[in-house]
Amino acid sequence: MPEVIIGEQGFKTEKRPEREENKSNLGNEEQKIIMQVENLSKTYMQGKIPVHALRCACITVRKGELLAIMGPSGSGKSTLLALIGTLEKATDGKIILDGIDLTSVPEKLLPRVRREKIGFIFQHYNLVPTLSALENVELAMRFSRVPKKERKERAKALLEDLGLGDRLNHKPTELSGGEQQRVSIARALANKPALILADEPTGEVDSKTRDSIVRVFKELSQKGQTILVVTHDPEVAKECSRVLRITDGMIKDY
């Protein structure tokens, strides 16, 4: 059994023995395991009928990986993302992210996990329509109580890095789909998360914009940012460092 300890931030963490595959890469930060999903299952009740959305999923993700998850509609991709993102509770199994067992984090600490460890990118961008691009990016840092000056500077720098330096004060309705998605990426990066979860991030954009978004993901990955992308698009999957396929709630690692 792994030794259970309480981390500095109050989360329960597990000190686990390094796997064989990691021993050879000790000292190589890029090869560090950032997330381990063990026997993760999710069963919904549809009336009295149990629906197994995810069955015993096991995934190991290393730092800086750009991992694609593919599969047909209803296969369990989004469920997996929701479970890793702590938006839903698993029926069984474990998710160890950056040393924290997400499945045993108390409900009231989950917002903190989402703030500090996870960044979300949604298919429909999910920007707050009444806020400007800059304010949308700042929003994530507001909840982390980042001082106003610092969060403004950081949000501006992120947007500028993503080529939106001249769109800072534009509302989402004044931005194109690709621009909105880049604002969404900047927001996901704002709190320097251990993992970015992207749910169909190119689902609503044209191929040119798709390519630019994938390019951003690759650049981020090269800088050490771990990204997990759920996608239907083989062109996106092709650019990822690894592809997982889900069928009927079961994962196959390629």
Binding site: L87, P111, R112, F120, N126, V128, L131, N191
Partner: protein, 371 residues
């Protein structure tokens, strides 16, 4: 967070404005009805303070039952512990208006007029003197309404009286009193030697409550009202009046509160997805609560300020208009303003409580699926 709250309010300008107007209307009602109650309260307190040392002796059948005559004054005077006693006749000044203006004729023995009215002081002239018959002392409001001066002629019940004294402003019932000699009043209204009630002044160091009981037992056919009993009765009447006035104001304010709740519920329903996003990016339950409750409270605050401004303005206008008829009906006090403001905030916050609870309890996943 405050800037987000303001932004949420200003983004829905018309709806927010209507909600704020709803609250303002409620607070306006609280101010107007409260000002009426405050005026009544002040009059009551001052009236109590100028008559609190006397025991009232009535006929057993009550003030309007008759049967109490001058003769009883001597019986009361004979009771041990009574320092002084005198009868008073009280009737409405303007019978055609059924006394709605609050003006009263007070028939007092001339030699007792200064003690009967104590501690009310004269602004000008003198109290009634023995031997006066068609002389009158008037309260401050009567003086202002009829433009009376010392020596003016004043018509009462088809007879002309000479104004010999004008009372200082008291804020009590005496501001609307017309004080004439008791005998003249009895003749004027053809009531023989009847009096409405007898004032019994207790000796110093005599317990007024005990003396009151003693008078009732010693003087047949009378009932008494001690200063303590009078205060209790008056307070009860005041409470009933206050409850009626304040509750009608509160009712309006509660309707305003429902307005806020409706707006907030609509807003929360419309922003379900937004709350899902906020939760997904790490908003705590308290952040969501703060956003929604803050929005409702701010609308309550703005509604309160608007309601108070309009309410105070309306009260000033009504008081100015009523001043032409020498009636003071409303009184704005700091206490009323504070209560109205706190009430507006409370209404706003309470109305936002349920929508805020709903917003904070949303599952982020469900909220994100919301169209």
């Amino acid at each position: 967070m405050f800037d987000l709250i303001i932004r949420n309010i200003t983004n829905r300008k018309i709806r927010s404005a209507l909600t704020i107007c709803g609250i303002a209307l409620g607070i306006f009602a609280v101010i107007v009805m409260g000002a009426m109650s405050e005026n009544f309260h002040q009059t009551f307190e001052r009236s109590m303070s100028v008559t609190s040392d006397k025991i009232r002796v009535f006929a057993e059948s009550g003030v309007f039952g008759g049967g109490l005559t001058d003769d009883k004054v001597n019986d009361v005077l004979r009771v041990a512990g009574v320092k002084d006693a005198y009868g008073l006749l009280m009737t409405t000044f303007d019978e055609d208006k059924l006394g709605m203006t609050g003006k009263q004729i007070l028939g007092v023995p001339p030699e007792k007029s200064s003690v009967a009215l104590y501690p009310v002081e004269l602004k000008a002239g003198r109290f009634l003197n023995p031997g006066d018959s068609y002389s009158v002392v008037v309260g401050n409001n009567i003086k202002r309404e009829y433009g009376l001066e010392i020596g003016s002629k004043f018509e009462i019940h088809d007879k002309y009286f000479t104004v010999v004294g004008i009372l200082d402003y008291t804020g009590s019932i005496f501001d609307n009193a017309v004080i004439i000699p008791l005998e003249t009043a009895q003749n004027l209204y053809s009531v023989g030697n009847s009096v409405s009630y007898i004032f019994a002044v207790p000796d110093e160091r005599v317990d007024a409550e005990m003396l009151s009981k003693r008078i009732e037992l010693s003087v047949k056919g009378t009932s008494t009202l001690s200063p303590g009993e009078l205060e209790v009765q008056a307070r009860q009447s005041f409470m009933i009046f206050s409850v009626i006035t304040i509750s009608s104001g509160l009712l309006a304010a509660i309707i305003g509160g429902l307005c806020v709740m409706n707006t907030m519920l609509m807003s929360v329903a419309e922003r379900t997805r937004e709350f899902g996003i906020l939760k997904a990016i790490g908003a705590e339950t308290r952040d969501i609560l703060l956003l929604t409750l803050g929005e409702a409270s701010l609308m309550g605050l703005l509604g309160g300020i608007l309601g108070i401004i309009v309410g105070v303005g309306a009260v000033q206008i009504m008081n100015a208009w009523l001043a032409t008829t020498r009636i003071v009906l409303f009184l704005i006090t700091p206490r009323l303003l504070i209560i109205a403001m706190l009430f507006a905030l409370l209404i706003g916050a309470l109305s936002g409580l349920y929508p805020a609870y709903r917003a904070s309890k949303m599952s982020p996943m469900e909220a994100l699926k919301h169209a």
